[in-house]
């Protein structure tokens, strides 16, 4: 029982850093943009957040700095895609490599150091050491319904979804597809970087190169799993978080399985789930996903 509770508790914690980028990508893809640069954005967030926290001795300043850097970096991506009409996958990969390199450079002096982490507050009613989280965890789980409301119950959400289905029709309706896409990119960049910062400031308390370990790509997979619905993204994030914690627990128990194999577990699980649940996804995907919008010339 104890083991089970700590597994649940851990799954929630580890779900948060993947939930942020997933939610951002859901919104971004709803406007028709596939952003493969999430991994880079997360790493940028993790290293900027950590180093700012280390220098200022204030974790919140770190989170804020990470958010700002993520926002700016993803606006550059959006500029390439929206105004320069660059290929989305190529621009996304460029952003990823930029993020990987830049984060390594920024984080170099702080490898192996400790920075102030985020304060933790117990979930209502919890007395034990379990179920105590930093505010970013609560924020992540609160954001999902908020973004759901934004997408499906507001005028702006209707615009967002319309742009993702058909920018030309949205334009005919008086919506500016470019403005909507810039907004979505700004939000997605911010969230991805905050997710990264949560990893370094909320979970590990350290910075190491490439510490996101492919979570940016898992987030993209979870977007498909969630069928572009922020509420279902919670399930996806918990699944991945649960797999990560399970693997940590198994390693801690000293199970006779190669640790390298165990490291693989969350990724294999995500793949399997996508294989089972990924059918029929084409019908739900935003119709203009990945397409370049040329305007009316």
């Amino acid at each position: 029982m104890n083991w089970f509770l700590s597994w649940i508790s851990g799954a929630i914690l580890y779900a948060a850093p993947i939930l942020f980028p997933t939610l951002g990508e859901v919104v971004e893809q709803r406007t028709g943009m596939v952003n493969l640069g999430l991994e880079g954005l997360m790493l940028l967030g993790a290293s900027v957040g950590f180093s700012v926290s280390f220098v200022t001795r204030n974790a919140w300043l770190g989170v804020l700095a990470a958010a700002g850097v993520g926002l700016v970096a993803n606006l550059i991506y959006a500029g390439l895609v929206v105004h320069r009409r660059a290929h989305q996958l190529a621009a996304g990969l460029a952003l990823m490599f930029f993020g990987i390199g830049m984060s390594a450079l920024i984080g170099k002096p702080y490898v192996g150091q400790m920075a102030p982490g985020l304060p933790k507050y117990a979930l209502a009613g919890s007395q034990s050491l379990l179920f105590r989280y930093d505010p970013l965890v609560y924020l992540a789980f609160l954001l999902a319904p908020l973004l759901w409301f934004l997408l499906f119950r507001t005028r702006f959400g209707l615009w967002l979804r319309a742009v993702g289905e058909s920018p030309a029709i949205a334009y005919a309706a008086g919506v500016s597809p470019n403005a909507v896409r810039y907004f979505a990119a700004a939000l997605a960049g911010t969230l991805a970087a905050v997710g990264g910062a949560h990893l370094s400031l909320g979970i590990t308390g350290t910075w190491s190169e490439g510490m996101t370990a492919g979570r940016g790509f898992i987030a993209i997979a979870l977007v498909i799993f969630s069928r572009w619905n922020p509420l279902r993204a919670i399930a996806g994030a918990l699944l991945f978080g649960g797999a990560v914690v399970l693997q940590l627990q198994l390693q801690a128990q000293g199970v006779g399985i190669s640790p390298f194999f165990l490291d693989m577990l969350p990724y294999v699980l995500t793949l399997l789930v996508l294989l089972v649940w990924g059918r029929g996804v084409r019908h739900v995907a935003p119709a203009s996903l990945g397409r370049v919008y040329f305007g009316t010339e």
Binding site: T154, R155, A168, A172, G174, T296
Partner: protein
């Protein structure tokens, strides 16, 4: 009437690369009138109304709304001025519901949208205008007529007083057209002003108060239906007399080119599959396929072209078993295809005319072992093709997407019919084309017959089938239910057979 025009376009000029779509075009829309904009494909009608709606910007010219000079630089501006446009092919998003599609175009939508309130408002509005619709249905589930109702509702709820329709009847069946015109009359009585685009004379004459005719980017004139005639309008549209389609007397058809023996296919969606279809197309004959659309004609074409798997039966091409041949092999062996919608089925929209022509037969023009293309060769071939079919050459560098429907079909004809072939399959090849473009297609099919090729013509236009075909077969629910010789049958007989009222052989 006779007061200030609600909308006045003055000397509008719009150039696209390679074409002047509108050349100093002026148009006046009076309050409470239905104004038809008549002209053949590519006359510049669509461009003009899209400028009025802010979708395109004019290179020069002025726009006045209610006598005041305005600057319309986006659809948003147009809608603020009370101008609404129903696009050809619609601007509905299939994945969204009726309510969401309508809401998208509402000027005063609250920040938070409650589906329940929205649905209630919509149900009331649709009842008021006599346009029954269920707000919660996703648009992809609606019929074409229902989609048009959504479009109209969108404009009415957005308080548009000037309603523009870009070829609203193109997608409708005859009784839906009547309904639409009745709605138009009702709107006019309520004080709305309407412009609709058409290339059908009869529609303009029956429904409009005034008709403005456009030809090659210019306005030829504005007339009232009572003061003109079909001939006069035709003359305005085309300038010179139309060439009639001339069909030479029949010869004995030669060897079978295509043979279908007991061909069956699986049904796809709501469309029926083919059931035991036996059909022979011989050299030097045109076989027409008649039928109400959706009775397996498209499947017949697809099965012949190798796009649809034949589950039972045999397909022979020039005596060889072609049942399992992939499309590429069929093309190489000499099957040409003239489809209904070239942009969707035959050309790459973003390629130029020249590139599209090089596309189908790259091997023939390849150089350096496939590393390069002999563009000069393609160009020469292209020019020869246009000359042989008696067509005016198209601008080589123009993107296919910018060509009008008639010119696109000319492009396809030249590409398909200027390489060695034995069989032409025409799948509704003249649908949506103006009279002159349609005649060019028909003439090309007749020329193919003269040269001893086999022609299979799938069409909904019985007059066309009667004037071109040597034999007409009728499809009903995936079966061939009748065969007629045009000289020995009449339209009513064939029509009865199409609707299942009688099975006949003549």
């Amino acid at each position: 009437m006779g007061d200030t025009p609600v909308l006045r376009l003055v000397e509008i000029t719009k150039r696209f690369p390679h074409v002047v779509a509108n050349d100093r075009v002026s148009l006046e829309l009076l309050p409470g009138e239905i104004h038809a904009l008549l002209g053949e494909n590519g006359a510049g009608k669509s461009t003009l109304v899209k400028i009025a709606y802010g979708f395109y910007q004019a290179d020069s010219g002025e726009i006045y709304v209610h006598g005041k000079k305005v600057d319309i630089s986006s659809p948003r501006d147009a809608r603020r001025l009370g101008i609404g446009l129903v696009f050809q092919g619609f601007t509905l998003i299939p994945a969204l519901t009726v309510a969401e599609n309508v809401a998208l175009f509402l000027a005063e939508l609250p920040w938070v949208v409650r589906p329940r309130d929205l649905h209630r408002a919509l149900r009331e509005a649709s009842r008021r205008y006599g346009l029954e619709l269920d707000p919660a249905t996703p648009v992809w589930q609606l019929s074409v007529g229902e989609q048009q109702r959504v479009e109209l509702l969108k404009l009415l709820l957005a308080n548009a007083r000037i309603l523009i329709f870009d070829e609203p009847t193109k997608v409708l069946v005859p009784h839906e057209v009547e309904n639409l015109f009745r709605v138009f009359q009702g709107l006019r009585e309520d004080g709305y002003s309407l412009i609709f685009i058409t290339h059908k004379l009869r529609e303009a004459l029956t429904c409009a108060d005034r008709i403005t005719v456009m030809r090659q980017g210019r306005v030829v004139g504005t007339v009232r239906p009572g003061e003109t005639s079909e001939e006069a309008l035709l003359h305005m549209m085309f300038g010179e007399r139309l060439g009639e389609v001339v069909r030479a007397a029949g010869r004995e058809p030669g060897e079978p080119i295509l043979e279908l023996r007991g061909v069956c296919t699986k049904p796809v969606g709501t469309a029926p599959g083919l059931a035991d279809v036996d059909l022979v197309v011989r050299a030097g004959e045109i076989v027409g396929v008649a039928g109400v659309s959706g009775n397996g004609q498209r499947e017949l074409g697809d099965a012949i072209l190798g796009l649809l798997r034949i589950t039972r039966g045999k397909k022979l091409f020039l005596g060889e078993d072609a049942t399992r041949w992939p499309p590429r092999r069929l093309i190489q062996k000499g099957v040409a295809f003239v489809p209904e919608d070239p942009l969707a089925m035959a050309v790459v929209p973003w390629f130029s005319v020249l590139e599209n022509l090089g596309l189908l037969d790259p091997r023939r023009f390849s150089r350096l072992g496939g590393l390069g293309l002999d563009w000069a060769g393609v160009r020469a071939h292209l020019q020869a093709g246009f000359a042989r079919l008696g067509l005016n050459p198209l601008p080589e560098q123009a993107r296919a997407a910018t060509l009008s429907g008639g010119n696109l079909q000319r492009l396809v004809l030249v590409r398909e019919l200027s390489r060695p072939y034995h069989l032409v399959v025409g799948l509704y090849p003249t649908r949506g084309l103006d009279v002159r473009s349609a005649n060019a297609v028909r003439q090309a099919l007749l020329a193919a017959r003269e040269e001893g090729k086999g022609v299979l013509l799938i069409s909904e236009d019985l007059n066309e089938l009667f004037s071109l075909s040597d034999r007409i077969v009728v499809m009903l629910r995936g079966r061939l239910v009748g065969e007629f010789r045009p000289e020995a049958a009449n339209l009513t007989e064939v029509g009865r057979c199409m609707t299942g009222a009688g099975v006949g052989h003549a």
